[in-house]
Symmetry: C2
Subunit: 284 residues, 2 copies
C-alpha cells in the first residue's frame, strides 16, 4: 500500500487567494498591511529565507520589511527595535526570526512584543487566550495552526477522532494540543518520558509528529488507514527531514511530506495572522 501524499502548496494557494481578497478590501479602506521581520544574526541562508517572506507578501498584498541586525547586536538595541515597531502605526505585525543569538534572552524579546502585533503567537497573552479558550482573541503560532489548516482543508474531520500527538514543545506541541482539543479531537500527548509511544501511535486514527526529532515516529509505530501529519522540520546535512521515518508511506493512508507539507503553509499562516492582527487592533 502507498499512502496518499497531502501536499502543502495546494492548500497554501487556497489560503493565499483568500488573503489577497481580504487585503484588497483593506486597501480599499486605505489600510496597507505591513509585516516587520526581525532577523538578528544568522547566516546567508536565513537571510534568504526571511526575505522569501517578501515574495509571499507580494502575492497576497502584504508589504514585508526585514530588519537585519548583526550577530553581536546588543539586547537593549533589539528591545528598542521592538519598542519602535510596537509604536509604529504603519506596522501591523512583527515576526522575530529564531533562533536569536545566544546572548539574547529570547523570553525578554518575545514578552516585549505588542500582543496584538505578535503574528507568530509567542507572547504569553496569546498563549493564554489559547489555553483559556479565547481563541478568537488570539494570534496563534504558525506551525501548529498550519497543521490544523492542512488537516481541515484536506477534508479530514477532527471531531471525535483519537489523535496521538508526539511532542510537547512550546513552539508546536503544547499549542497544537490546545487547538486539537478545541476542535473536539481526543488527544494523547506523548513525549520523551512516555512509556511505549508506539502502542499509543498505533491505536490512534490520526498521528501528529511534532517532536523535532528526525525519524522519531518509525513506520513500525504506525497502522494502516491512519492519517499522519509530520510537523517536524529538522535540518540534517544540507536537507530538511521530518519526524516521521522512512517507510511510513507504505503503511498509512495519508501522509504529509517534509519538505512540502506543513512547512509550505507557515508563511501563508503568518500573513493570515497579520490580517487577523489588523482586526484585533481595531483598524478594520
Amino acid at each position: 500500500m502507498t499512502a496518499t501524499i497531502i501536499k502543502g502548496l495546494p492548500v497554501a494557494n487556497v489560503i493565499r487567494e483568500e488573503l489577497a481578497a481580504k487585503a484588497k478590501e483593506l486597501a480599499a479602506k486605505g489600510i496597507e498591511p505591513k509585516l516587520a521581520v526581525i532577523l538578528a544574526g544568522g547566516d546567508e541562508a536565513s537571510r534568504v529565507y526571511a526575505q522569501a517572506k517578501g515574495k509571499v507578501g507580494e502575492k497576497v498584498g502584504v508589504k514585508v520589511e526585514v530588519h537585519i541586525r548583526p550577530d553581536d547586536v546588543k539586547e537593549e538595541d533589539l528591545l528598542a527595535l521592538v519598542d519602535q515597531l510596537n509604536a509604529d502605526p504603519k506596522v501591523h505585525g512583527i515576526l522575530v526570526e529564531l533562533p536569536l543569538p545566544k546572548h539574547i534572552r529570547k523570553e525578554l524579546v518575545m514578552n516585549r512584543l505588542d500582543p496584538k502585533k505578535d503574528v507568530d503567537g509567542v507572547h504569553p497573552v496569546n498563549r493564554g487566550y489559547l489555553l483559556g479558550g479565547q481563541e478568537h482573541l488570539a494570534l496563534v503560532p504558525a506551525t501548529p495552526l498550519s497543521c490544523i489548516e492542512l488537516i481541515q482543508r484536506s477534508g479530514v474531520e477532527l471531531k471525535g477522532k483519537r489523535v496521538a500527538l508526539v511532542g510537547r514543545g512550546d513552539t508546536v506541541g503544547r499549542p497544537l494540543a490546545s487547538l486539537l482539543i478545541k476542535r473536539d479531537a481526543t488527544i494523547t500527548v506523548c513525549h520523551t518520558k512516555t512509556v511505549d509511544i508506539g502502542s499509543i501511535t498505533k491505536a490512534a486514527e490520526i498521528v501528529v509528529a511534532a517532536a523535532g526529532s528526525p525519524g522519531l515516529v518509525r513506520a513500525d509505530m504506525l497502522s494502516p488507514g491512519q492519517i499522519v501529519i509530520d510537523a517536524g522540520i529538522n535540518q540534517v546535512g544540507d536537507g530538511i527531514v521530518g519526524d516521521v521515518g522512512e517507510g511510513a508511506a507504505e503503511v498509512v493512508a495519508f501522509l504529509t511530506p517534509v519538505p512540502g507539507g506543513v512547512g509550505s503553509l507557515t508563511t501563508s499562516i503568518i500573513m493570515s495572522n497579520l490580517l487577523k492582527a489588523i482586526g484585533l487592533q481595531g483598524l478594520a
Copy 2:
C-alpha cells in the same frame, strides 16, 4: 476491595504550615501579606464561603479583606474596584469569586486584573506562562494546582504514568493538562465528543475527573489498582458531589473524596499563590 481514601485536609495542613513559616519570614521584613476577595452578588452561603477564607488566612498569616458588591453592581464600578486594588501596594493578591452576576462580562473583569496579583491564575498572561512552559512566572489556577499537590504530596509519581483526564474546561481541564504534561505524565484528554471514554479511563493508571458533571465517571469505567482524583465540585440539592460515581471505591486502589478531597486544598493553594505573587512583585 475498598480503596484507600486520599483526604485533602492532612495535605492542606502540611501546606499551611509551610505557608505560616514563609509568612513569618515576610513579616520579619515588614511585609504583611494581604488578599482582597471580590464578591459580587451571590447568596448568604457564598458570603459565608468567601469569609471562610479569612479563617484560613489567619492560620497562615495572611490578611483577607472581602469586598462585597450587590447583585446589580455596575460593570464599570467592578472594573474600578479592580483598578483600585491593582494600584494598592498593600494588596498583594486579588480573587474574584465566581460566578459573577450575569450582566457582568467575566472576561473583561479577569483580563483587567494585574497578572502579578491574579492569585487564581485567570488572566491570559498567567494561562500563557503555563502553555508556554514558563510556569515559574505563572500564578496557576487553584483547582488544577490542588489536584497536582494532592497527587504529588500523597507520594504518587506522575512521571511516565498514563493519565486519563476527563474534562477540558478552562477552569480545571486545560490548565491541568499543561501541569500534567510538564510533570512528565502521558495524558489523554477526554470530553463530551470523545468516543467511548470508558475504554480510555479503564486503560489509564491515573484518572482525573474534572468535567463538572455529577457521577460522569462511573465505577464500570474504572479498573483495579488505579488512582482516581475527583476534581468535580457539583452542587446537587444541599450537598456537594464529585464527578466520580458511586461504587468507585469498590474498584480502584486510591480515591479522593468529595467533599474533603481536592476542594479542601484550594484555599490553601490561593494563599500559596499569594506568597508567590509577593515574590513575582519583587517585594521579597
